[in-house]
Amino acid sequence: MAKTMQNKGGGISDKLGATTDKMQASQAWNSIFRPGSIFRKGYTDSPRNRSYVIMNSVLYHLHPVKVKRHAVKVSYTLCFGGLSFFLFILLTVTGIFLMFFYRPTAAQAWNDIYTLQTSVTFGLLVRNMHRWAAHLMVLSVFLHMARVFYHGAYKPPREFNWVIGIVLLLLTLLLSFTGYLLPWDQLALWAVTVGTNMMGYTPVFGNQVRFVLLGGAEIGTDTLLRWYVLHVLMLPFVIVIFMAVHFWRVRKDGGISGPL
């Protein structure tokens, strides 16, 4: 009995192996996975293939083929920069999900969020993830900045990348702040009131700044639409451009800094 089962199991795994071989040999498969891909048939762990994995992938080639050995130590970077980027991706994915259920008007916004939490499958979970990931991103961007400062990594030739980093910190804060208003509950309304009142104290043209930000003299449905567009379209667009330059400059300025 056991023997027949073993034979049967062997037969299935043989069949599976044959199917995998056939699939990996097909033209379609080989057109999708470029030479050096670990999913290609007969991938071997060689220095050449290790280089191809990076060079032949649009995502991975943000990285160089090789990095300094000290740079892969978690204790050096604590992954803050990479995690900020990962949280941004997570926020984009969860944010797109939320956009399907949300209308940015004073009459509908709060009800949409409430319905999302109570009637949409995984709605509450995804909204929670979006909110906590946003707070975490503000924290990780700030900690990334502190890490870079303590390593002196803003020094030549990386001065300008530090400036871009400060812009990214500012954009992260603005993204978080614009998102804060969207649930249209008491917390959102009054937190934004306090925040925009502070901006209204800008010298000389304070009232104009406040008027442009709110889309009127008071926070209302126009503010909601304005901040919604800023939050889902304009600020992400700008931050992606700055992130692209930031990552590109990391490599052009000689890779990761250090060792100390």
Binding site: R69, V72, K155, S176, L189, A191, T193, G195
Partner: protein, 260 residues
Amino acid sequence: MTEIPEHLRKRAEEARAKAAAAKADDAAPAADAPAGEPSAAESKIPAHLLERAKAARTKAAGGETSSEGSSGGAVATATTGGAVATATLPVAAGPGGHTQRLLTVVKSGSIQDVKATPQDKVHVWPHLLSIEFVAALACLAFVLIFSIFVNAPLLELANINKTPNPSKAPWYFLGLQEMLSMFDPMVAGVLLPGIGLGALACAPYIDKNPSTKPEDRKFAISLFTIFVMACATLTIIGSFFRGPGQLFVFPWASGLFFEL
């Protein structure tokens, strides 16, 4: 003595053997050459150089002899030398009768100053990508599990006519809101954060110290640590120690007045 690379030594030996063979062939036709000249015949030094050398030698030898005599001798040797050189061009001569000789092989280390020190590098795949993957998974797991157990706040519908007490900005602006109790709103809300961000962005251009070693950067590190600590302290006081009317409270005595 410098080492001569194997292939160069072999080539030189072959050339020498070839030259010896050529000389043997030449021996018969060149038999009528003057008896005193065989060394000159073998020589591959251009004729005009030989002349010059001979002239110099005779000049040095007959230092006190009349200039007329020495010049006459020089002319005589020049004519004989020229005749010999043209008569006995070596077989292995290159264009223009010149041949090349391997004088010596100089190792690169003695003439090149190599400034770049070899760096210890590792392949990004798998050394860095695997770490990034694990970090991203851990981050995702943390956000997911935290979101399952802790819900994002959703208070009642926004109401402009009902101001909550206290009204607080998002947590990352609570440091600024805390400064409102100490300074004029224009200073606390606009000037100080503006100057702070500006100074931070200009840090690489202000800090001219090229060293990245912590022991050389005591002032910069102290200043930045004070900045981070001030931010953290103000934010924590603003978040947890401010109650109704922005009065100072102890969270363990009066409860939390804080929403994320």
